[in-house]
Symmetry: C2
Subunit: 387 residues, 2 copies
């Protein structure tokens, strides 16, 4: 029989939780938040945390400076919820669709300094027009492509100055430039991540130079992703740093060396509901509905299946992962396939560490909090979703 | 420029929908529901639709006979919602965890004939004990493994009669046996699907024979999955048929020939938010948060990426799929990689057909209904989640 290593002092998991459910270890999360705060301080830039991973007002209050921002979001629904909760400075970091500008105007009228991003003259024209029509000057950052990952234009694209002029002269506000080195998620060493950070920095600094040469303002230079933020050596010229998944971390981040497995603050609590020991399988009540379909570690050097299996106290079992996931069934087996499984009777509670915190958290409506101080009682943080 | 084929008469998509959102074509859904109803009639078995795909009271009323059952669910949350909405006969088709039996008893006390499933003496003992302690005879089906897919015991396993005796003599109710040929999802021809159906039937009939030989009752013989249900040629000895995804269908089912693409009732409405024509990419505001991370077609003969791209009226563009998905960004490109993309200006609305209806629907809190009759006004059906 395989047993998990000792780990005394871990917060206890309340007995009455319905499985599957989502657990957050508050002490681990607080440590992660502090780590990024110190990194931003060291680099001398403002931290603008991304709230898309956590989507929780309770967590935003812990992540944001004084609880009011600056913040980054990925949907207008997030902007609306956080603005209603008192966040006053929000960057909506997904290319703006013109049909969404009315909601942007409403948020700004409500007193939230909401900034949009864009990368085309069509969008700039729409933002300028909406600003004039709505009597609200909408600030925009131009998205710069630093690694071919997603959206954005290159710093040498002639459209850059054109977009800048449209925003600046036609009624909107050219607030600056931003980039996101999404490809850094494929960088498996700290040096490679630092190189992506430098590419992110250079792309944004070059783009700002182009705009300034054209006589345009560019006060904000925004960069970031969790890997580049933590690997960055210097961010000369940059004004703000964005990152999100660091609050929870996950197996994907562990796989590229950004964190240790013990830094993962998020897990799914589940129960054993069946055995097929002869086939090396233990069935649990967490399938992909609870874990998500994310298989982000599949292409990393260690494939973690649908997640690493821990005991109830959060101690990983050596070599034990979720090897298959149906909608409401997970199948636990050994990573190496040799079938040496621990004795886990029906009803045993386990915890599964997620491949991708954003995806796993999105499958749940709340966080069950493992409180850092004993005796603080049962605590639940609501999570929201939608657009 | 590539244009989509003509498709006159499709229901129109309301102008004011926030993107991304989930659309259901009511006429297509109704046709799918009717197809399975006729199939069950032809086979002479009772249909027990699985409600885990749709998780909607509005849709359950359309799927269930007289709106009250019989039904199948995958979580006790589903059982609770549907029981509160008047469904009176529910099979909870995931192996029971003893800690969940109190909720089962509460549901039964409320007048819902809820049945559980199990495949071990430990579970049978727990169900028998809960029945005695709770003063509620809990009915159970024994799960039979017919294809090594998930849970269940083989019909020749000596534990079968042991479990049957425990249930029958110790205070619970042995109601019968059930199997689910999940491996039929890998069967790409109708003959192969029919063979899985026959294996499902034989496993359950043999198991019932074992129980009856042991002097035990076995009134219910339950089988099903969408592929086996639709391919079944005869179901001698079987009393009920379960299936769920047929209500919407999806690209996975299209890939194994169970339906046509035009039978898919579910799609995600999205808008174009950027272009990188030089790289053969169009960026949309539906990423994996709206589409799900499901890549079920990846191992089929045609890999549909994160979904097939259609115009606003639901007409598929030849060769156009979602080739990448970030959290809130999708990237549209050609399946063949040759880069011939249609001209789709910023703001253009598109519809994405899902790989897996259960997974995509789970990312949303409601269905926007494309009504089968014009002039019926805007209609929304709520969806729920959780455990």
């Amino acid at each position: 029989m395989i047993t998990a290593p000792e780990n005394k002092g871990a917060p206890s998991v309340p007995d009455d939780l319905v499985t599957p459910c989502l657990l957050v270890d508050e002490a681990v999360m607080s440590r992660n938040i502090e780590r990024m705060r110190q990194q931003a301080d060291k680099l001398g830039v403002m931290l603008r945390p991304h709230l898309k991973t956590t989507k929780s007002v309770d967590i935003a209050r812990r992540v944001l400076a004084e609880g009011i921002g600056p913040a980054t979001v990925s949907t207008l629904a997030e902007a609306e919820v956080f603005a209603a909760a008192g966040v006053r400075d929000i960057l909506y970091a997904v290319g703006i669709a013109p049909a969404k500008l009315q909601r942007v105007i409403e948020l700004r009228r409500g007193g939230c300094d909401l900034t949009v991003i864009l990368d085309s003259p069509e969008q700039a024209e729409a933002v300028a027009r909406a600003s004039r029509d709505g009597g609200q000057v909408i600030p925009a950052l131009i998205e710069i492509d630093c690694d071919g990952h997603r959206g954005g234009i290159g710093p040498s694209d002639p459209a850059l100055a054109e977009i800048g002029r449209q925003l600046h002269h036609d009624g909107a506000e050219l607030r600056g430039v931003m980039a996101h080195a999404g490809e850094s998620y494929r960088a498996e060493t700290r040096d490679a991540q630092a190189a992506f950070s430098e590419a992110e920095r250079q792309a944004v600094v070059s783009a700002a130079e182009v705009l300034r040469q054209a006589g345009l303002p560019c006060p904000v230079l925004s960069v970031g992703s969790t890997p580049t933020a933590l690997a960055a050596r210097e961010l000369g010229g940059i004004t703000e740093l964005r990152a999100g998944v660091y609050v929870f971390f996950d197996l994907f981040m562990t796989g590229i060396g950004v964190c240790e497995m013990s830094d993962i603050a998020l897990s799914v609590l589940t129960r054993v509901i069946g055995h097929q020991y002869d086939r090396g399988r233990i069935v649990i009540d967490a399938g992909w509905m609870a874990l998500s379909r994310d298989r982000g570690t599949a292409n990393q050097s260690v494939d973690q299946g649908y997640g690493v299996v821990c005991d109830e106290a959060g101690r990983p079992f050596p070599d034990l992962i979720v090897i298959e996931a149906n909608q409401e069934h997970g199948v636990v087996g050994s990573r190496s396939g040799d079938g040496a499984l621990p004795d886990l009777p029906i009803g045993t509670r386990l915890r599964i560490l997620p491949n991708h915190a954003c995806a796993t958290a999105a499958q749940h409506a709340r966080y069950e909090v493992l409180a850092s101080r004993s005796g603080t009682g049962r605590q639940t943080w609501e999570r929201f979703a939608g657009w």
